[in-house]
Amino acid sequence: MFFPISNSHINPLYLAIVGFVIGILGGFFGVGGSFIAGPALRLMGVDWNYAVGTDLAHIVGKSIVAARKHRTLGNVDLKLGMIMALGTIGGAEGGAQLIQALKHAGNVNIVVSWVAIPVYVGISMFMLWESHTTLKLNKGRPRKTVSNAKAAESKADHSAFEPITKKIQRMKIWPVISLPTSGIKEISLWTILAVALVGGFFSGFLGGGAGYIRMPSMVYVLGIPTHLAVGTDLFEIVISASYGTFTHAIKGNVDILIALVMHTGAVIGAQIGVVATQYFAGPKIRLAFVPLPLIGAAIVVYTLVTGHKL
């Protein structure tokens, strides 16, 4: 099939399959999946700028489907998502500005690569340690009956990092807000904005939605239960990726026809991913998340070693 906007020939079935795979990952982990979509589009000869912009457009559609499904399961904290979207957009602009500055200095690729590798590997290693430790601790704990617990409490999961999360929640810098959907009585608005800013910064700096940074941050720093972090992250991605799509489309980086075709596969994938979260406890979802940032790191290493941009 010919896509005139990006001037490329791509098999629509290939696009639908790529969308399907990313949909599953997005629904299950709350990530955009740009580390797969970008290289997959590049592989078909789509220019890098179109790959980035089109991927963002596709992420909007996929996240709408997954967020709607998560909402029906009670996994979306709208208040938290709205606040985070503000911080993410601000952070993304900051990251994009730094990229522009590095571009002018002529060393953008090398700096971004050397920042990305330790960040990705660090997240993976930390989550591996934390989820493994939590699963070991949970073995000795009695199981809570869901019927006695409120919605948020039934989704609450323990984390080996909990003592530090509690300390962060105790920092009561005005204004302090409550997040009843997530089961958080008091938390500083600045803590939420800081997490969103960092996530947004990496989104602007490393590309994609940066769900691989934001989802763990929501669990470990804000203390949001994993299922709610996944759903809320997807809701937040809808807003921030829409903003990204708009700015990229104005710059001529979006082939919406490719995004629409990819999205047909993502709809089914996202629904499977969302339903699958119901069968796994929080620490198990976090443990399964570990390979994702590592794939991102492997792609960066590949581009550094070979000089090819995937």
């Binding site: 099939m1 457009a57 559609g61 709408i64 709607r68 489309a249 919406i256 999205h263 047909t264 709809v267």
Partner: protein, 80 residues
Amino acid sequence: MKQDAAKSLRVFAAELAIYAVLVTAYFFLVLHVLGGWLYQLETKHRILYAVVAILLIAGQAVALDAVTTVLFRFLRRRWR
């Protein structure tokens, strides 16, 4: 338990098959018609194109989500 899993798989396979037919029709009808118009819009009116792009992807998300949900419910009821 095994019967339930087999039934779910059968419903899902049927849903996927019907969905594939619908999507293929969608590729050839809607995208073919929209392709030329969107290309013109992208080259001449970028801001309008940006707005239309977001509306299209969001609209498709809601529409396809509704289609899959209805399909799934319909097939579940039929096979119950």
